[in-house]
């Protein structure tokens, strides 16, 4: 387990502060020179710090946007156009923020799937993983409310569809929806509370990120081999080695990010959101942002009730869909107890590898399905893709943990010679 090292700064002023509030030690011990880290982390490990950087970019650009934005249905759309036209570099800040949300999600999705493949959710990192799931849920709420703020057609109709989902909850559903709306339809009170919460939640995320890093310190980083650190020879200091590697990764990531900001700033958005919200005109198709599509596809795939349709419906189709959508993320919380294989890394699990690869493909298929109109065979494909998604977590992993024979594990990180199979 991680040990804590007190920082001893040479600078007297810093030393004075450190004695009273050991904040330097904190940095030192989490991402600093006194953070022993496995020496074999590959580039998939870059995306945690990238997600952290994106959070910082989103908060800074968002705070500036909030200085110019007006959260009122009458002028919200106009104020965004004013930002684009009359505020100095307003177009740059807004495009950074809008595309930043997408790139934040790209970093986080890769980070999550890295964890899924390399078994980052397994002991002793269960709490670290669960805090990550909480961050992801908070991100989804924040991104959804942020998309409502420009008050375009997709903002309005997306808000109407998504808040409407809560009406499926038995007994209190209608009350929840009215609470979210602040009235009887998506209107000015809705916009106001979404703006307030959109400003609040990122700081909640930042708080949970600190817990996430704390848990990382306690349980140490995992590594691609998935074996425990055996000796100090397995480790290197986080700084300068992983700081420079993360910085290089950030350079590549921001290069792609900048290509979107400057050359295709609207590619990830929907053109309908440049039409002011109109409660009387429903868009031809209401499509969520791409990062919600897999879960939206799961929601739409469940169009049948639990029980016998029309005769005995334990849970009606609408509620079942909503439950499935939330369950598709909440299932990650119990993942450490579903996959009981002692081997963490997918590299040493010959069958797991294939099922994992299919899960990744399944996610892409769900994303694609979420963007299609639910016509023809689309709902059917959605059912199969949803089925595989849940089967992976609820059936395949538990069974695989018992049935699969893992490959022999290496002796140690510093000496990755495979143990001869006996």
């Amino acid at each position: 387990m991680a040990e804590w090292k007190a920082a001893k700064p040479e600078n007297k002023a810093l030393g004075w502060v450190e004695e009273r509030l050991p904040i330097l030690s904190l940095v030192n011990n989490v991402v600093g020179p006194d953070t022993p880290t496995p020496r074999n982390l590959n580039y998939w490990w870059n995306f945690g710090s990238l997600a952290g950087l994106m959070l910082v970019i989103q908060i800074i650009s968002g705070v500036v946007l909030a200085m110019h934005y007006a959260a009122h249905t009458g002028i919200a759309f106009d104020s965004v156009e004013r930002i684009m036209r009359d505020v100095n570099y307003g177009w740059l800040i807004r495009y950074m923020h809008a595309n930043g949300a997408s790139f934040f999600f790209i970093a986080v999705y890769i980070h999550i799937f890295r964890g899924l493949y390399f078994g980052s959710y397994k002991a002793p990192r269960e709490v670290l993983w669960m805090l990550g799931v909480v961050i992801f849920l908070l991100m989804m709420a924040t991104a959804f409310m942020g998309y409502v703020l420009p008050w375009g057609q997709m903002s309005f109709w997306g808000a109407t569809v998504i808040t409407g989902l809560f009406s499926a909850v038995p007994v209190v559903g209608e009350s929840i929806v009215q609470l979210l709306w602040g009235g009887f339809s998506v209107d000015n009170p809705t916009l106001n509370r979404f703006f307030s919460l959109h400003y609040l939640l990122p700081f909640v995320i930042a708080g949970v990120v600190i817990l996430h890093l704390w848990a990382k310190k306690i349980s140490d980083s995992g590594n691609p081999l998935g074996i425990d650190v055996k000796s100090s020879a397995d480790q290197i200091p986080f700084h300068p080695f992983y700081t420079v590697k993360d910085a290089f990764g950030a350079g590549v990531f921001f290069f792609v990010f900048a290509m979107f900001i400057f050359y295709m700033p609207n590619a990830l958005g929907h053109p309908d959101n440049y039409i002011p919200a109109d409660p009387l005109v429903t868009p031809a198709s209401i499509v969520p942002e791409w990062y919600f599509l897999p879960f939206y596809a799961i929601l739409r795939s469940i169009d049948f009730p639990l029980g016998i349709p029309g005769v005995f419906e334990l849970i009606d189709a609408k509620l079942l869909g909503v439950l499935a959508m939330f369950a598709s993320i909440l299932v990650w919380l119990v993942l450490p107890w579903l996959d009981t294989s002692k081997v963490r890394s997918g590299n040493f699990r010959p069958m797991f590898k294939w099922f994992f690869a299919f899960l990744v493909i399944d996610m892409f298929i769900l994303t694609w399905l979420g963007a299609q109109k639910p016509e023809g065979n689309i709902p059917l494909y959605g059912k199969f893709a949803t089925l595989y998604y849940f089967a992976y977590f609820l059936v395949i992993l538990p069974v695989l943990s018992r049935k699969e024979t893992p490959l022999p594990l290496p002796e140690s990180i510093s000496n990755p010679v495979l143990k001869p199979a006996e």
Binding site: E81, G251, F262, P271, Y274, A284, N377, L380, K383
Partner: protein, 262 residues
């Protein structure tokens, strides 16, 4: 059960092809034009944008507003201050209330937005047989493949096929959603007389208009493209330096050095 029935259908059809999108409903795929503002080095064609402004003023502005466009923005497409003042002065806008509390009007100034042709949506509908001519400020960004779509729509009017059920007062245009549009064909050859002598064909006017409307929808486009090059060059060099730094710093790690033994 619907689910079981669906599986049965799927088994019957095997790997059925994905259902065709309802192409007729969504409108025909727009014609592709090679615009000057496309690509990382793309710029506005100033002369074309100026001609587009003339077309907008003389043709479109009788029905379509441009509420986010201010006269002063015309500096970006190459007009000088005196000309912009003259353009603005052609229009009347609402002024302050006078000393007696009565509303006044005044000549528009460069700071003003382009005045809407109708006082409100109802007046616009009343004057257009129930159809509302949309504001064009963001039109190019508010449609898929915007510049090509607007161009195709403007030049794409045709006679309706014999079997097409065209509504009263509607016009056939395959590029429009549902193929019928309330707007009558707006552009004809020589509909305007260009100040710079360019022959005003229908295609030419449509192209010029798209240049102008793209500028109106995204005034920062050119600045954005230019800044992007600098940012990408900077990030590229920075990334290379970071890569080389990483290689140097990581050398002892690659050589297997143990950093924790004394």
């Amino acid at each position: 059960m619907k689910f079981v029935k669906n599986i049965a259908i799927a088994l019957t059809l095997g790997a059925a092809a994905f259902s065709g999108t309802n192409a007729a409903d969504a409108g025909k795929h727009p014609m592709q034009v090679d615009w000057s503002f496309n690509g990382p080095l793309g710029k506005f064609d100033m002369a074309s944008a100026q001609r587009g402004w003339q077309v907008y003023k003389q043709v479109c502005s009788s029905c379509h507003g441009l509420k986010y466009f201010r006269f002063r923005n015309l500096t970006d497409i190459g007009y000088d201050e005196a000309m912009i003042k003259a353009f603005a002065a052609e229009y009347e806008v609402e002024g302050d209330v006078d000393d007696y509390g009565d509303p006044t009007t005044r000549k528009a100034e460069p700071k003003d937005a382009f005045p809407s042709p109708f006082p409100n949506d109802n007046a616009a509908r009343a004057a257009n047989a129930g159809a509302l001519p949309p504001d064009l400020s963001l039109m190019v960004k508010a449609r898929h493949d915007g510049p090509n779509y607007v161009f195709s729509l403007l030049v794409g009017y045709e006679d309706a096929p014999a079997d097409f059920n065209l509504g009263a007062g509607m016009n056939y245009n395959p590029y429009f959603k549902g193929s019928q549009i309330a707007m009558a064909e707006p552009l004809f050859d020589e509909a305007v007389e260009y100040e710079d002598g360019t022959p005003a064909t229908k295609e030419q006017m449509a192209k010029d208009l798209v240049q102008f409307l793209t500028y109106v929808a995204e005034p920062s486009l050119q600045k954005r493209h230019q800044m992007g090059i600098k940012v990408l060059i900077f990030l590229g060099l920075l990334t290379i330096l970071l890569y080389l730094s990483m290689k140097i710093i990581w050398k002892p790690v690659k050589e297997g050095k143990n950093f924790y033994e004394d």
